[in-house]
């Protein structure tokens, strides 16, 4: 089958599943699997070296003819989308069932399909207008997915925040595409690096796509949306949709020229995003919020890779730029895999215990061995540890940075601080996931809910197994996946050869990783055997001779993160409330420490308050009294008349505005005449 036919099957399958999902869960699952499998096949066909697929139609949508294209870069994201969409659909089959959630389950299935379709269209669109339409459809559908449980107040709040931030980003993108269309005279997208006048548009794209990607400090919507959404939705949002923001940045830094300061800005934002994102994440007590903040960190790593690649282009196509770009693209896949795996694991825990608070859990490995083992694997992968996939991509990004430092050019001044910050972020990520894994799964259960946990069933387990398999496969044989990444990177910058003749720098890693996995497995088995042979007995945990250790005496997540939270207290601003024990027979004592959303509450909300005050003041102008409106008109007209009479210069009036849309000015339609509405 050709790529076009596969995509047609995918589109039909997903579109049909939107309707079917309302009634028939099994048929929906079959259709989703069919659609995503066809989409994956199409993406693989392009990534494996087939021709890129392009389709132009005379069919007009919004006055523009349809133009779809699947090239190496979009195919990389397309493959990730189809894998996570299928895995999430399977997971939801048990996690969000009609029996347990009768009100929202049908809607969840339909919106899932809508979002998959919209994301696919974003990736395929090669027309600015259609890109925006698909983008908006994707934003709205993910809003409905986030707010599936909208009877809960915090879910509604998270949903509104997401919708508002998302549209602030979309506003930037409107400006971006409209200005581009006005300067080039067409909504068509494609490579146009030679049109240097388009370079300043990069800033609009960075703001618009950056909001979606969750870059610091416009990540404010991400923690609450990702933690309050159902876990399969959190998985696709962290795994795929924030990567669509990265796709936008990659697409348009590849197609359009960028200003000279852009690479430096992207590296700077990326490094800060990585470090501060994980600093917030480490201090969280809510497992899903921790995972969400960790997504912010990983977006930072990807941005650093992209920024170094952009710097490499401006430094005469330096080799280190190629390495960093490949690392960034690889990390898109890797983070998609292990973050979805971890959100599925967190969902299993939530499903089994009913809480996301880590300090209420503990000791779950006994009741949920599969979830515990798979979460541990995901935790090791996301900490960037060999021999798993996270190390492969982080190694490429770090190697790019290190080579940039070694080149001793001006690029080193960006690479040196970025490498130090990323190194610290990496150590913090490791600390965060030691904390998450151990507080949830190790030790003794802290509450009754944790004691009565149960393992998740078949449909929730196998998507996790499949994603874990992907993490292991990319970790052990990165060489196998390298050509696909190289192909995507070659689309970004055509003059960079990643072909089969250029030796893959990841090949030594394959050898080391396989050897490490085998030897570590043998050593663990050998040690276990030796311990069994010598005799092994169980005893109480040593607690300094204390005879009655209790579950409440265990270290909590808050105390585990205490040292680092102290270093970052200027940023985290933890709120502490404590009541010391008093008297000889103290009745109560408590200590509560919460980490507020500092950036949102201390930075964004004050600014928003000022805007609201100005808006409220301006609103007084509209009060429904007709005579004042007539007075406004008179004042306005006389001001305009004075301006024309005093300052009119015929030459100025003749000049074309640079922002004027191309094409002949259309007559202003009568329906656009604004209507006044009197306030009640």
């Amino acid at each position: 089958m050709t790529t076009g036919e596969l995509l047609l099957i995918a589109a039909t399958g997903i579109a049909a599943s939107i309707i079917v999902g309302l009634r028939a869960p099994r048929a929906w699952l079959v259709l989703t699997f069919t659609g995503t499998a066809a989409a994956l096949a199409a993406a693989i066909a392009v990534l494996a070296g087939g021709a890129e697929w392009e389709w132009k139609s005379e069919f007009l949508v919004g006055g523009e003819s349809l133009h779809l294209r699947l090239d190496g870069l979009s195919a990389l994201f397309f493959a990730l989308l189809s894998v996570i969409s299928a895995a999430g659909a399977a997971y939801a089959h048990e996690y969000w069932t009609d029996a347990e959630k009768p009100e929202s389950a049908p809607a969840s299935r339909s919106w899932w399909s809508v979002m998959t379709l919209a994301l696919g269209l974003v990736l395929l669109s090669s027309n600015g207008l259609h890109f925006l339409i698909a983008w908006e459809l994707f934003a709205v559908s993910s809003y409905f997915l986030v707010t599936l449980e909208r009877q809960r107040r915090e879910v509604r709040a998270a949903g509104w925040l997401y919708l508002a931030s998302s549209h602030a980003g979309t506003l930037c993108l409107f400006g971006f595409f409209a200005t581009m269309a006005s300067r080039t005279g067409s909504w068509e997208l494609g490579p146009m690096r030679e049109q240097v006048q388009l370079a300043p548009l990069f800033w609009l794209a960075l703001a618009g796509f950056g909001v979606k990607a969750g870059m610091f400090p416009v990540h404010i919507w991400l923690p609450s949306a990702h933690s309050n959404a159902p876990s399969h939705v959190s998985a696709i949002m962290s795994g795929v949709t924030i990567k669509i923001g990265i796709y936008g940045l990659m697409r348009f830094t590849g197609w359009l020229p960028v200003p000279a300061s852009a690479p430096w800005t992207v590296i700077g934002i990326g490094a800060v995003t990585a470090l501060l994102g994980i600093a917030f994440g480490f201090a969280q007590n809510d497992i899903k919020r921790l995972l969400a903040y960790c997504s912010v960190e990983n977006i930072g790593i990807i941005l650093v890779g992209l920024g170094v690649a952009m710097l490499g282009v401006s430094h005469g196509n330096a080799l280190w730029g190629r390495l960093a770009l490949a690392g960034a693209l690889f990390h898109v896949w890797n983070h998609g895999l292990f973050k979805s795996l971890l959100f599925f694991g967190a969902g299993s825990v939530l499903h089994a215990t009913g809480t996301r608070e880590m300090s209420r859990l503990g000791g779950l490995w006994r009741a949920m061995p599969w979830t515990a083992a798979l979460f541990a694997l995901g935790a090791a992968a996301i900490s960037g540890l060999p021999p798993l996939n996270g190390f492969v991509s982080e190694w490429l990004v770090y190697l790019g940075l290190l080579e940039a430092v070694t080149s001793r050019g001006s690029a080193a001044w960006a690479a040196m601080p970025a490498l130090i910050l990323l190194g610290m972020a990496g150590a913090l990520a490791l600390a965060s996931f030691v904390k998450a894994g151990s507080i949830i799964f190790l030790g003794a259960p802290r509450t009754a809910a944790a004691r009565h946990a149960h393992e998740s069933g078949f449909w929730m387990r196998w998507p996790m197994l499949a994603l874990a398999g992907g993490c292991v496969a990319i970790g052990l044989v990165p060489v196998f996946f390298w050509p696909a990444v190289g192909r995507a990177a070659g689309i970004w910058q055509a003059s960079w050869p990643y072909g089969p003749d250029s030796p893959a720098p990841v090949s030594p890693l394959s050898v080391v990783h396989v050897a490490l996995a085998v030897i570590a497995g043998l050593a663990a088995a050998g040690l276990w055997w030796l311990a069994r042979k010598n005799g092994q007995r169980r005893g109480k945990t040593w607690d300094c001779g204390y005879a009655m250790p209790a579950a409440r005496m265990q270290y909590t997540g808050g105390s585990f993160a205490g040292i680092v939270a102290g270093w970052f207290s200027w940023l985290l601003q933890p709120e502490r409330r404590s009541q010391r024990p008093r008297g000889l027979f103290p009745a109560a004592a408590l200590r509560v420490e919460t980490i507020p959303e500092t950036i949102l509450e201390r930075v964004i909300e004050p600014v928003a308050d000022v805007i609201m005050q100005v808006a409220t003041a301006a609103r007084r102008l509209q009060h429904g009294r007709l005579q004042f409106y007539i007075a406004y008109l008179l004042v306005g007209l006389s001001a305009l008349g004075t301006y024309v009479a005093l300052g009119s210069d015929p030459n100025v009036a003749q000049q074309r505005s640079p922002l004027r849309l191309a094409g002949p000015p259309a007559a202003y339609p009568a329906s656009h005449a604004s209507t006044w509405r009197a306030s009640p």
Binding site: L385, W395, V434, G539
Partner: protein
């Protein structure tokens, strides 16, 4: 034929790392005893301990999962892997490729992950404290280590360990050596960051993480810790001395001498200094980072190698 030689080469390296490593804690203890005017335990004490632990039975916490035993094994393999990537003077490394230095850093991180995970298996608050300290202070020591690596990369113009560690460190050698020495003390939990002799669990880092380990897993942990110490001592020696450029015997002598000086230095510091209060540890680690940063700036100004 080449395969046989490669096999013998790797086997010889393995033997050297595995057999020589437990010597270092013995030397440190001898130095400490000598300063204090005691006779002290024999230099080979750790060998006796390891042999005895190998035969002992194991007590597991009721809460521990199989990862409690797997953790020390993974950590041991990770440190051994990192050691094999480190070049030994003119003999080079068992395996060398572009960017292997990053793999060494991340193998040490893997060891940290496995050790901390195994420690938290027991649900003990003491081990929780130790693990929290270990992973938190690692943030700063990792920054210092990466800065030191960058200094070496700039100085040698290479990102491969074998070529990075070959030339002499140049003008910044003293700064780099001091910075790396502080990182060595922190990463191996020696005084003034941690006191391996203390028996007060509240004040420890590494020792408190292994409170519940016994028998063969404890042997793996102790042996791994001694290999990590040897690894950092070798790295420090090769970063400062041009070991790679010397003829084989001189190189071996320089390497052994360097490691011995570092080990005696650790012993002397342990005898003469007290352990720092925990709130001062970040300060000292930041100082180590700054030393490495100045070494980096010196290397930057030192001209192309």
């Amino acid at each position: 034929m080449n395969l046989v030689i490669a096999f013998i080469d790797v086997a010889a390296r393995l033997a050297a790392w595995l057999i020589l490593a437990p010597l270092l804690p013995g030397i440190i203890n001898k130095v400490k005893a000598w300063v204090a005017g005691r006779r002290g335990p024999p230099v080979l004490q750790l060998y006796y301990d390891l042999n005895r632990l190998r035969k002992k039975s194991v007590v597991l916490s009721e809460l521990a999962s199989p990862a409690f035993v797997a953790g020390p094994a993974v950590a041991w393999v990770a440190v051994l892997g990192a050691a094999l990537l480190l070049p030994l003077g003119p003999a080079g490394a068992a395996l060398s490729f572009r960017g292997d230095v990053l793999l060494v850093i991340y193998l040490l991180a893997l060891a940290r992950f496995a050790t901390a995970w195994a420690a938290l298996e027991t649900g003990s608050a003491f081990e929780g404290m130790g693990a929290a300290r270990e992973v938190s202070y690692a943030v700063l020591s990792e920054a210092a280590l990466i800065t030191a690596i960058m200094a070496l990369c700039i100085h040698s113009g290479s990102v491969t360990l074998v070529t990075m560690l070959t030339p002499a460190a140049g003008a910044g050698a003293a700064l780099l050596g001091a910075g790396l020495f502080a990182v060595l003390l922190a990463e191996n939990c020696r005084v003034p960051f941690d006191d391996p002799n203390t028996h007060l669990e509240l004040t420890m880092i590494h020792e408190v993480m292994i409170l519940d380990h016994s028998g063969p897993p404890l042997a793996a942990i102790l042996h791994g810790a001694s290999m990590k110490l040897l690894l950092f001592a070798v790295l420090l020696t090769e970063a400062v001395l041009p070991v790679g450029n010397l003829p084989p015997f001189a190189a071996a002598g320089a390497l052994a001498g360097g490691v011995l000086i570092v080990t005696v230095g650790v012993g002397l510091i342990e005898s003469l200094l007290a352990r720092l209060a925990f709130r001062r540890v970040p300060l000292l680690l930041t100082t180590a980072f700054l030393l490495c940063l100045f070494a980096l700036l010196v290397a930057w100004n030192g001209g192309a190698a």
